[in-house]
Structures are given as C-alpha cells and as structure tokens.
C-alpha cells in the first residue's frame, strides 16, 4: 500500500501531464480535422470535376492506409520536404488529417440527407446556395450526423495512443514507461485501460446528450 502511495507521489505529476497531452492532441485533432473535413465536403459540393477528383483521391488514400503509416510519413518523412515537426505537432496534424477524411465523408452524407424539397423551397424563395447551406442544410444536417460525429470523436480519442510510438509523451507513453521502470507492466496497462474507458464513457454520455438535444425538431 505504501509502495503504491509513494509511486503515486513519484509519478503523479507525470501521469497528469501525459493525460493533459492526450487531451490536447485529441481535441486539437478533432477541431482541426472537423474544420478541414467540413471544408472538403463543401468544396465537393461546389468545385469542378478536377478538384473533386483530387479530393476523392485524398479521402481514399487516407481511409485505406493505417494511421500509424501516415504518422510515420509525416514525422519521419517530413524532413525530406523541409518539414521538420516536433513530435506533438506532427501527431496532432497527422491525426487531424486522418480524421478530416472521415469527417468529410460524414459531412458529405449529411448534405445529401437533407430532403431535396427543403432545398427547393429555399431555391424558389430566391435564397443563394451559400445561404441555403448555412441556414437550411447545416442545422438539419447536424441532427442527422451527430451520432457519426460522436463516433469519430471517440475513435480519434483512442488513436491518440498511437502517438506514443513517435515519442509523444501522452498517457500511453508515460504509463508504458512507468511500467517498464518499475516492472509493473500489467498494473500500468490496466490503469491505462481504465483511463481510456473513462474517457470513452464520458464522451459517449456527452454524445447521447447532444444527440437528444439536437433531435428535438427532427420531423419524420
């Protein structure tokens, strides 16, 4: 017992810092990835054939290759193009780019899920495409795609563990290190598991709440 207490004293701050890094990289990637994904989805609505093809390739490449490989390419391969990023920066950017492909697909399906009639009504009233997207499509879309968005956000939270492989000092890296230093691998892995379960559980609860609030005006 006292051994555990002293361990907590010794490593507490580190673990907290690791947790902080996990949260920062997770939320940073979510915000950047969602923004980028939304931009891509909107571009796909408006742009010409060539741009759409390029975007399609972007999405397919990101969705058919593992995140780890993408991370390696950015972090270890980046210097080839003059892009020498810090591990954390590379991690957040890589995760954001990875997420953007999935977010783009969710937003795209969201755009097409709004009944055509609602758009036609806006058209007949003389509303511009941009106004229609902003005032009619987006609010309704958010209701329909909230579950998918929550799902992606949870997936990204778990992917942050991969950042440990490129030496980002997030939770997995810290606890793995402690485990090997103190020869308590299994205990630290279990604590790590519980941490992620808590994170996922809380996010799921918040997600359900958001879904319920959003679907107040969904008309079937």
């Amino acid at each position: 017992m006292t051994a555990s207490l002293s361990l907590i004293q010794q490593y507490g701050p580190q673990v907290l810092s690791g947790f902080g890094i996990t949260i920062v990289s997770w939320l940073g990637a979510v915000v950047l990835g969602m923004a980028l994904g939304f931009l891509i989805a909107v571009l796909q609505l408006f742009a010409g054939r060539w741009v759409r093809t390029v975007l399609r390739i972007y999405i397919e490449v990101l969705r058919t290759t593992p995140f780890l490989v993408q991370l390696f390419i950015l972090y270890y391969g980046g210097p080839n193009f003059g892009l020498s990023l810090q591990a954390l920066d590379a991690g957040i950017i890589a995760l954001a780019i990875y997420g953007s492909a999935y977010f783009a697909e969710v937003f795209r399906s969201g755009f097409t899920s709004v009944p055509r009639g609602h758009l036609e009504a806006a058209q007949c009233l003389g509303m511009s495409r941009l106004t229609t997207i902003w005032r009619v499509q987006l609010p309704q879309m958010l209701v329909i795609i909230t579950p998918s968005l929550v799902n992606l956000i949870i997936i990204l939270s778990k992917e942050t563990s991969v950042l440990s492989i490129v030496t980002v000092p997030e939770l997995t890296a810290i606890l793995t290190q402690i485990g090997s230093e103190q020869f308590i691998y299994v205990q630290t892995m279990l604590i790590l598991s519980v941490c992620y379960l808590l994170l996922v559980g809380v996010t799921q609860k918040l997600g359900s709440w958001a879904e319920a609030r959003a679907s107040r005006f969904l008309q079937h």
Binding site: T65, P66, F72, G77, Y196
Partner: protein, 216 residues
C-alpha cells in the same frame, strides 16, 4: 527529396510482409467471428446477467485502444505462465478486440431475422444450439456481409499496430527498411501503397460478395 530507387527496392520486401498482414487479419477475423457469435448470444440472451456480461465485453474491448490491448496481451500472458511468440499474442489481442466490433455488426444481423422463424424452429423441437448454427448464423452472415468485408479492411489497417510487438508485417518491415537505408519516407510511402493494394483487393472481393449474397 524522394528516392525512387529505395522505394522500388522496398516493394518486394513489403509484398512478402503483406502476406503476414493478411494472415494475421484473416485469422483475427475468423477467431474474432467465433468470439463475436458468443458475445452476440450473450447480448441477446433472455438472462440479464448474460446480457450485462456481453455488453461489458463490448464496452471494454471497443473502449480500450487496440495498442493498449496489444501491450496487455504481450506483457500479461507471460505472467499467466503462457509463453507465446509475439505473433500469437498479437493474433490473440486482435481477435479479442475484433470480437467486440464484429459482435456489434452481427447483432444487427441477428436482430434482422424475423422472430417468427426462431419460434417455428423452436416448435419443431430443434435445439437452441442447432438453431444458432444452422438458421441464425447463415442469415446474419447474409445480412451483414458487406459490413464484414468493411471490417476486414479496418482490421488490415489496425494490424499495423502489431508492429509494436515485433511481428514482421508490413509496418514493421518498413521500419526495418527505414532503419537500414536511412530513407524513411520511401519505405513508409511504399508501405502505404502496399496497404492500399491489399485493401483495394479486399474492396473488390467485397463487391463480389455483396452481389453474390444479394442474389441468394
């Protein structure tokens, strides 16, 4: 900037490593499927304790990142006295994880089978187990075939993590190449392309499977 030569040299090595990737993914899918059937049965069981167990399994194995599960398997099994090679530990971890995800997919499939069919088989006196094997699983498979192929693709991508415990699949091999040639970009781009190729083939197979099951 980009050395085409080292890129091209990496490809044959990665092609061989791809076999390992596909092997691990396939075995993981198969064993995961068996686990999934057990999980689904638990989740849909009339007894609350079984349901709780099933839901708990799903929550835990979908909530903990695969990387952590892999490391747990790698370090935990030896403490139980089970000394296995990294490959086996990796397959075990991947299977357990897949079991949870496949379970969710199968659940949709099982729920899609009309209740009346199950009742009819019960009336005919066919055992629960036989009903499961001969009536429910085949239909659930038919209903969820496209999702299962999709899951296989996800599994191939997730398998890149088993490089961490030293299994000689695509990512690990690329890491080795990068270390020996000092050209990480070319090695990892080649790895990426290899994954795309594998997943591309899986997608095509998936379309055939979809059409095959549609007709049946």
């Amino acid at each position: 900037m980009f050395d085409a030569q080292s890129f091209l040299h990496a490809l044959p090595l990665l092609l061989r490593a791809a076999q390992m990737t596909v092997f691990v993914s396939a075995v993981g899918l198969l064993i995961g499927f068996l686990i999934a059937v057990a999980v689904v049965s638990a989740c849909l069981s009339p007894r609350p304790p079984m349901r709780r167990l099933g839901n708990l399994y799903t929550f835990v194995f979908r909530g903990v990142p695969l990387l952590v599960q892999l490391m747990l398997a790698y370090y935990f099994l030896p403490t139980l006295g089970i000394n296995v090679s990294p490959d086996v530990a990796a397959i075990a971890a991947v299977s357990l994880c897949e079991g949870a995800y496949l379970g969710e997919i199968l659940r949709g499939g099982f729920l899609g089978i009309p209740r009346g069919q199950i009742e009819a088989t019960q009336m005919l006196g066919i055992s629960r187990f036989a009903t499961l094997v001969h009536i429910e699983i085949p239909q659930a498979l038919k209903l969820t075939a496209p999702s299962l192929v999709n899951e296989m693709i996800l599994l191939v991508k997730a398998s890149s993590l088993i490089s961490v415990v030293g299994v000689a699949e695509i990512t690990r091999t690329a890491q080795n190449i990068a270390a020996s040639t000092f050209r990480p970009l070319e090695a990892y781009v080649a790895a990426g392309l290899m994954y795309m190729a594998v997943n591309g083939i899986l997608s095509v197979l998936g379309h055939y499977a979809e059409r095959h099951f549609e007709r049946a």
